[in-house]
Symmetry: C2
Subunit: 222 residues, 2 copies
Amino acid sequence: MKGYDSSLYEKMSVAVDLLVFTIEDDKLQLLMIEREEEPFAGMLALPGVFVGIDETLDEAVRRGIKEETGLEDIYFEQLYTFGDVDRDPRMRIISVAYMALVPVEKLAFRPGERVAGAWLVDVEDLLAGDEELAFDHKEIIDYARWRLANKVEYTDIAFHLVDEMFTLPELQRVYEILLGKKLYKANFRKKIAGMVEETEYMTTGDAHRPSRLYVMVEEDEE
Amino acid sequence: MKGYDSSLYEKMSVAVDLLVFTIEDDKLQLLMIEREEEPFAGMLALPGVFVGIDETLDEAVRRGIKEETGLEDIYFEQLYTFGDVDRDPRMRIISVAYMALVPVEKLAFRPGERVAGAWLVDVEDLLAGDEELAFDHKEIIDYARWRLANKVEYTDIAFHLVDEMFTLPELQRVYEILLGKKLYKANFRKKIAGMVEETEYMTTGDAHRPSRLYVMVEEDEE
């Protein structure tokens, strides 16, 4: 066929890469794995799975999250699709990156602990360090970090990093960690005023005096 | 191999679908094509191309935009990746949707005119009407419409729909069309104050009195 270019119709592999964020030790932490095989053996990488031919993207994400964390019901959203030709030296792989956010209380492990080959790493260390990461994963993490800081300003995404009930200082700390800056308490309280609701419960059992517990206001989606 | 499921490693087709938006007749318009072949023959669809095995996503987008509009240098950004299993009855196709925005002056044709099988359709008509569109394209357009309205609030995306030099009433009209509501002139002017810069030029040649022309302030990316 004149002008027919078969390279335009060749199929390729599609994967989902998972950015599972949590907060612990007052730091934003990301679930990472160490690659066992080439390419990039021994290097840190994002967990990910290939998308099955009979599987939606969301189903692949849920399968991957369950494999890595054992969890079945955590919040996730699509981040961006990365499709550079040489991002994997073996073959053409399109990667649809997803961010998942989970309060650390739900994870079965803590920073430094290794579970099923995965563990939590401080995101700022990952990005600031000289250590190379596998594939284009540093670029993906860099973009996700930027997007998180951005979305915290105009969405309720930060609420996925606290427990169902939380104190306002806890929520403020999550905002500060995502934004990378301190907030004035009065400004913060004004910002979230319409998004939270007092409960009848107070914190108990630690050295501080009891604090009021709040829940998120369920808003209708547009 | 025990537990090995080959359907998890089957390759698939990847396409980019293009949402080329412009404003004309005071309406948000989208470039659509009529499908010539099955499936969905005779129905309206978004233009799109398969991603070549040696082609990045951005390269595929540029190729598609050039095929449909003849233009080589218009603004585009990734919207979302759609990966439902049955979105194409023929085979599994992952679609990475991109939004492109272009001032109508740059397009070689006007609403109602057909060029290379493509023409402009009023987005509100597309979404409000009962007419079915090919594939999941109505869902994609609906999502893009929502995202545009959203992004106009906190980014400079609206500026891609006016010429390089524009009057403030022109820009306000673009904001109003994207937001779907009238804006108070004073509030609008305050909102865009830091984003525009006066030029020494005025509009000429129509029945109205001359208006000052403005340009966008080039901001450093974060």
